[in-house]
Symmetry: D2
Subunit: 341 residues, 4 copies
């Protein structure tokens, strides 16, 4: 049986570990052949492939990125896209697909499954906001990178008197901010799920300054202020006709400076959080996801997605991952808030 | 209410994070006072204490080790030890204890609970072999350290022709070897749960040599050969009256050299795996364990132990942790074996 | 003899290592007593001190920051500042000062020396732009942090099609950008010493895109475009009355997006580069600087500063460090440019 | 002009960075073609090659190991070896060689130069014991790895009462032990250059135990005790007819246990120190060595070797590297000894 593999969406540490596990089990155990579809759904759409065998996956376990490349191509936004995919699969003799990706990639996979394409999914997002699975791979690595940055900021915080703001990834959910903020001992954590009051933030900041240490504020990129509590945000014009063109971290830094009179500096980690070698836990999880994904193919469990439940890998319907976002529970945020100020 | 805290047994990254969380919630939220008992059970036994308040836990989150010190003292092996402990608690006005430790420390806690002492436990072991909880803190850090070492050995493996053996911690269970071996792409993983056949090991080693790469063998310190399959082990005398005084890793290296004719080198990570800053995940887990432990005290849940179940922190009876060792499931080992040779 | 020690200016990994070496040699070898002046020159100015003995420096070797605190206080900008300092020293019986700092701090030290104060200097800057010494401590750590960030960006660069800009420290000299850009394999390095042509930058960027990989651009925060070649910069208003409020990295990212049509993302490491544990090399250098600084005090080499020349620590006049900035040699930049595009 | 490149001897972080720089400058700047000789001198001896062009060196900058492979083959120990090499070079049209290696590899290069082969050398050793250059690449990485290990051991040292011995690389010179010992705050550093007195070592160890902390002893693998001061060493038989089969670290640990009554544990880093990604400083140095090596070829500076002098890359005669070992100066060891006990 010939199986196609693709990786869609943003970069994420662990993608190569998944690919490697799929091939390292699929070939010797099930006698499968593999076709590497390049650049996400563009691969099956346009028939762009690369060889995918045991030599091709040699040494890729610790490497970030994906040997298959990626894109945000959506075949459902292309006229006759589904038919093109069917033709590609038929021409190449590919009987099933393993799609490794996030909400968008798996959403496409779910729809293709409904249309009769044999597909199995592997959940990917560094934001950890996919439902159906306790954790996604790439998340632990991103949290580790952010925590290391916060660790480094602490020493400056101890000897100098300025507020330090770290903007981390997390457009719709604040998991990276929450975990790294707690692991890094941040004094304030702001997440998209809980619109913040800038006055409250400054209270926490001042409270910390009074202990003679400096505050570290961790902000998810998608965090927003409660309506009307903060003057000017990204994209808005202020009294002088100036438009802020930084992120929310930069905006918060400016507000803190204005309201507390203390200096504030911002670090924006950006894509550094998506790249590089995966942590040992992410390699472990990604590898197990890959092994179980090819088992799912072997079991003809079409339309399913591998997922982590506790310490076990199970299968759940693809739709479960794409239905709703997994956002931070208020109770968890309250645990973290124990340390604010 | 005055609460005593102690950390017993071996060093483990995350101990300080637990202590910090206990105090950072216990003081402002429950108005508790804390007494730091020094050096494990020796503290309550001999009344050796140190102040434990918010200033005392400032900055300790990222630090390895434990500000309370530790020991392997067992009050039940001391005449009248339990009474001594009761007297200490009474003299100091300490109404409850939080014991952070492994199988031995929690075993003592369980017995004290049976004798009416109010105690709550937090499970600690880098070996991850405590039952009742999906994971213990310190484990992720130890796996990460071992994985980094394996990563570094791979490059030597690619350009030189010698077998590289890494001996990691794990006297009774092979969790560190299993996880780091999988995360690091080892070619052979040997764990205590599965006595190994040295001929099979050499087969895997030779199989790897034939691909022009060199094999990496990860061995848990407690791994043992099947009876009679390996000549001379640590402590035993060989034909020349020589006694091997290294670990199992060194013994395996010698066997590989003799049987395959290829060079073999051993790395023994030793206590490096126990020390230093905890990983972000271990800080997260340890912090949540601490928060929930003081909640357990608040709820008078005596004789319980906090534990991780999936993504939630729950309580289980202390006895659950100490009843039996959590060893590697054969099915999990089979997943790892997919990559051997 | 009683010696005062102070650390002035910005945070820098290695400060504590210097302090530790001074005390660990000064006490047993020369029978000195030490006074820790807090917060840079504010200490001697206002008589703010802390104990500085062997117990005080225990365990500080690997810690970022400075146990003495720091500030940018300049006693020469305070009426009667010099007299205040003299009085403080007299009252405390302090006969000599060791000033650890950058251009500003050592500039003050040089002037005080001219006015008869017995002072020895230790050069500090993560920017490596102090003359008189081959390298300053803190630099290697900052370069390492930036290089790790670039390493992580490479994997995203390999699988996604967008330009990645990393803004690193370096207001007046581009040493961090040069070293990390070369070590990280950046495709473009922009430094303050060489005003850049944004069109040339886009040529290099496009040249890289054509190989199917994405470009990584490393920019020192003080880099500037040649006059008139770039539309709108930080602080300037554009055609729509918008004012850019990011750094040079963000501005370059916007230009690249407009001129090449490709996406561009910025990472601003900020103060992460100043903090955290020093690299092994910086601990080595800082320790040797401390040992030789107290030797200089012992030799009454007032007005001198320790410096690295090759593999040796020597003494140079304080003025040498503060006379002119050490900027990147065009020949060195040409070596790096070998790899652009 | 066609240039052959080879890497000989042990693995060393930075080899790939040298190869990359040679090719990235040699091709566009000088229009050279390159031949990659595989596995050290075996390549030119047996004519085993691989393509070496710009695509071949893509992405190798951060990778440990060497894409050319390595060996300890010595053509002068092969009958007619030199003639074979000459024939290979002639057949392949290779006019010059760049040999990247340590004492042995460069020794062969020096002899070939005497016999008229056009060769340029690049000095390589993680031990930093090659004369003629201030530092060799790979050294900084090895020191960093050892220092991280010592950092991790410190936390165990702070909470538990046992001596921790770390055995690091360094058969003939103690540079790695010296630098990592100083950077890691070791309490004792033992190097080959200074035979140690085990009683003095135990004095230092006990002195540290008395402060309630535990000692960390860093030992170079080639360190030896003064004659007759230590009972039984590796390879020798003791009173019971037992032969120690560990390294010097393990032997010292046993002596410490017997003489002080305290527990002692050993970590042997082994080949972990040779592998993995080079530090930023090593990538910088290796890259500059490669750029200047190809310049040396262009300048027909045959029989020369690139070297670091201060912050500059210069050329020295190959013989300078191979004449005598660069061992630790007693004055430097005395600086480190400031911190013993």
């Amino acid at each position: 049986m010939r199986i196609g593999v693709l990786t869609g969406g943003g970069d994420c540490p662990g993608l190569n570990a998944v690919i490697r596990a799929i091939v390292r089990k699929g070939v010797p155990e099930y006698n499968y052949q593999f076709v590497g579809f390049r650049d996400g759904w563009r691969g099956p759409l346009e028939g762009v492939t690369m060889p995918l065998d045991i030599p091709a996956v040699r040494g890729i376990l610790p490497r970030g990125g994906t040997i298959l490349g990626s894109s945000r191509t959506n075949p459902f936004k292309v006229d006759g896209g589904v038919d093109q995919i069917r033709r590609t699969l038929m021409n190449l003799g590919v009987e099933a697909l393993i799609a490794i990706g996030g909400e968008d990639t798996l959403g496409v996979a779910a729809k293709l499954h409904e249309k009769g394409v044999q597909v199995v999914g592997v959940p990917k997002t560094i934001d950890n906001d996919l439902s159906g699975t306790d954790y996604t791979f790439g998340f632990d690595t991103a949290v580790g990178i952010a925590t290391e940055a916060i660790d480094r900021l602490h020493t400056t915080a101890e000897s100098h008197h300025r507020a330090l703001i770290v903007e981390v990834m997390g457009r719709h959910a604040g998991w990276i901010a929450l975990h790294s903020g707690m692991a890094g001992g941040a004094n304030v954590i702001l997440i998209p799920e809980v619109p913040f009051d800038i006055d409250q933030v400054c209270d926490w900041v001042n409270s910390r300054f009074r202990t003679n240490y400096s505050p570290i504020v961790v902000v998810a990129e998608g965090a927003t202020p409660k309506d009307g509590t903060m003057g000017v945000l990204t994209g808005e014009k202020d009294a002088f006709g100036h438009v802020r063109l930084g992120g929310i971290g930069e905006s918060i830094a400016r507000e803190i400076e204005e309201r507390t009179g203390k200096e504030a500096r911002t670090t924006v980690l950006g894509h550094v959080q998506r790249g590089g070698t995966p942590s040992s836990r992410d390699r472990w999880l990604a590898t197990r996801f890959g092994l179980h994904a090819i088992d799912a193919v072997h079991d003809a469990a079409w339309g399913s997605m591998v997922a982590l439940r506790g310490a076990d890998i199970i299968r759940v319907p693809l739709a479960e991952a794409t239905e709703k976002l997994k956002t931070v529970d208020p109770a968890l945020y309250a645990e973290a808030a124990q340390f604010f100020g």
